[in-house]
């Protein structure tokens, strides 16, 4: 274990021959057909590919929401699929920040309260959690909107709440499904900057599923998926990195 972790020091996530199928018998669908990948710490990884190729399935497995059918998985040294349900939930709460495509904000909570949810899940007292969350919203230009309800806000503003919520508990892994799809170009760039800043700290990783060609140039690595498999191509071969790092 110690020898292995020493050699994996800079690798945040490693998959070996990971497969996932849904259902069984006649209706069995192979969504992942043997995924091998290694994602380094301090990296922003973008996951692209045609619809139905298995992107959502893959990030669900990496974030411990689904368990792989076979194969080896290590996320910061843990294979979440081997944890009992309750522990896996707690592992997610401690380790993963999510930005869902549909935002999934709680409609009756204010922006700050929504962003505070991961802290509340981990037991932070309500007022403290809301204050911290409001700080994160302010960094995203939402200082004035901390007390607004989601329905009073635009799609872009709601997306920023979702991003503040994903970052508020300082997770090691950030998983984003189409984080910029609802945003105009300028806001999209800003959001990517925030996500990048989160990724660049040591011991962190950010995975972004996206169709947005405009943001691909911010990626450190682009993973192309097709039909349940992955093709890794170093970003330097395709698009010059936008940031010096």
């Amino acid at each position: 274990m110690t020898a292995a972790s020493a050699s994996l020091r800079s690798v945040a996530i490693r998959c070996e021959a990971v497969t996932k199928h849904y259902g069984s018998g006649e209706t069995r669908i192979a969504a992942l057909r043997g995924v091998d990948l290694a994602i380094d710490e301090g990296c922003m990884t973008m996951l692209v590919g045609p619809s139905g190729c298995g992107k959502t399935t893959l990030i669900s497995i990496l974030s411990g929401i689904l368990s792989q059918s076979s194969g080896e998985l290590s996320v910061f040294g843990t294979d979440p699929s081997r944890l009992p349900d309750g522990d896996r939930a707690e592992w997610r709460a401690a380790t993963v920040g999510f930005v869902f495509q549909q935002f999934n904000l709680l409609p009756t909570l204010t922006a700050a309260e929504n962003a505070a949810v991961p802290l509340l899940i981990r037991g932070t007292p309500w007022p403290d959690a809301v204050e911290i969350a409001c700080g994160h919203l302010s960094e995203l230009g939402m200082a004035e909107r901390c007390g607004s309800l989601p329905r009073e806000l635009s799609g872009g503003q709601q997306q920023r709440i979702a991003i503040a919520r994903a970052l508020v508990h300082d997770p090691r892994l950030l998983v984003c499904d189409e984080p910029t799809s609802a945003l105009d170009h300028e806001t999209g760039e800003r959001v990517i900057d925030v996500l990048r800043a989160a990724a660049l700290r040591s011991g962190r990783a950010v995975i972004v599923v996206t169709h947005d060609q405009r943001i691909l140039r911010h990626a450190d690595t682009i993973l192309r998926m097709d039909d349940g498999r992955i093709i890794v191509e170093p970003v330097s071969d395709a698009i010059p990195p936008a940031h010096g790092a």
Binding site: G86, A89, R92, V96, Q101, L106, L109, V117, W126
Partner: protein, 387 residues
Amino acid sequence: MRPLDRLAYRMLIGDRLKYLSLVAGLVFASLLVVQQASIFTGYADRTGSWILDSDGHDLWVMDEQVDMSEDSKPLLQTALSRVRGIDGVAWAVPLYKNYLKARLPHGKLITVRVVGIDDASLAGGPRGAAREALAALRRDQAILVNEDQLATTLAVAQPDGTMRPVAIGDSISINEHQATVAGTFPATPDFFWDPVLYTTYSRALAMAPPERRSTTYVLVKAKPGVELGRLASRIREATGFAALTTEEFAARTRTYVLAQTGILINFGITIVLGFVIGTLVAAQTLYSFILENQRSLAALKAMGVRNARIARMVVVQVLVVGVLGYGIGAGLAALSGSLLDGAGLAFRVTWTTLLLGLLAILTSCTLAGLLGIRRVMRLDPASVFKT
């Protein structure tokens, strides 16, 4: 409050309209349940009122076949002397009770319950009667009438056609025997509606038809220090008669009336219907509330809330609306009760009713909650990635 419990509460009250309709459903259910149960208790309580009102003795000795307060089975002539001879009996007196026809001054014929109490001691008379009223029974032809019914069942038509309450000095003919109203007494409202008239034992026997001229009950006072249960079984062994305390007799009456008359079934149906309708409304609203929250709850699961904590959140929501709805509903029921009570309807809210009602409402809420929780448990957290 734990942060997630507060979160559950905020999810609940966030949508005012939905929240109010949830609470309103439960208020409605609780109101129905508590109100029907209290009316039921009120009526059940009123069975055997006249025996509960009777005063002065410890035990009622009666034919073993007697099921309740309105059931008069004649005792053998020897009953009184046999009971008097039993060890531990301080004194024993006869009491006569029967339904008889009474003709009011203006000629109207009604049914009354005539109770004849011992001429000498006047034991077994109505507890609330003033000393003078009881003493007035010693006058010739005297009867005492129930205060509450003076202006209703016993009202007298005047020559001009208007009605007036029956009054002291009025003549009432009971089974063709002349009687005079000598006084009144306050009586606890009775489930059985025919007016109770008190007179002396000998006068009551004289009024009764010849074939019914025998003691109905023997009232017994125990010697000081004698245990009533023991005395009752000694009487039973020695005479073959049943000997009951007033409370026991009232309980036997209540049980019989509830079991043998339609009121248990009728009220049972009303209570069950009210309960079912009310709780279905509540449960349905609650369940759909949980379903509408599915997406939010799935997101919480994805973000790392354990299933057990999700269940707890639903329980918090159920408890909040359940307790609030029940509190308001039961309060309204009590309020409506004090109005009904004023209108002469039987209505009694007991702690038992309130507790059972709360239990019933919370149970149905919990069931709805459990159904909801079952759905939420099965929620696939991966669904949060779906569009």
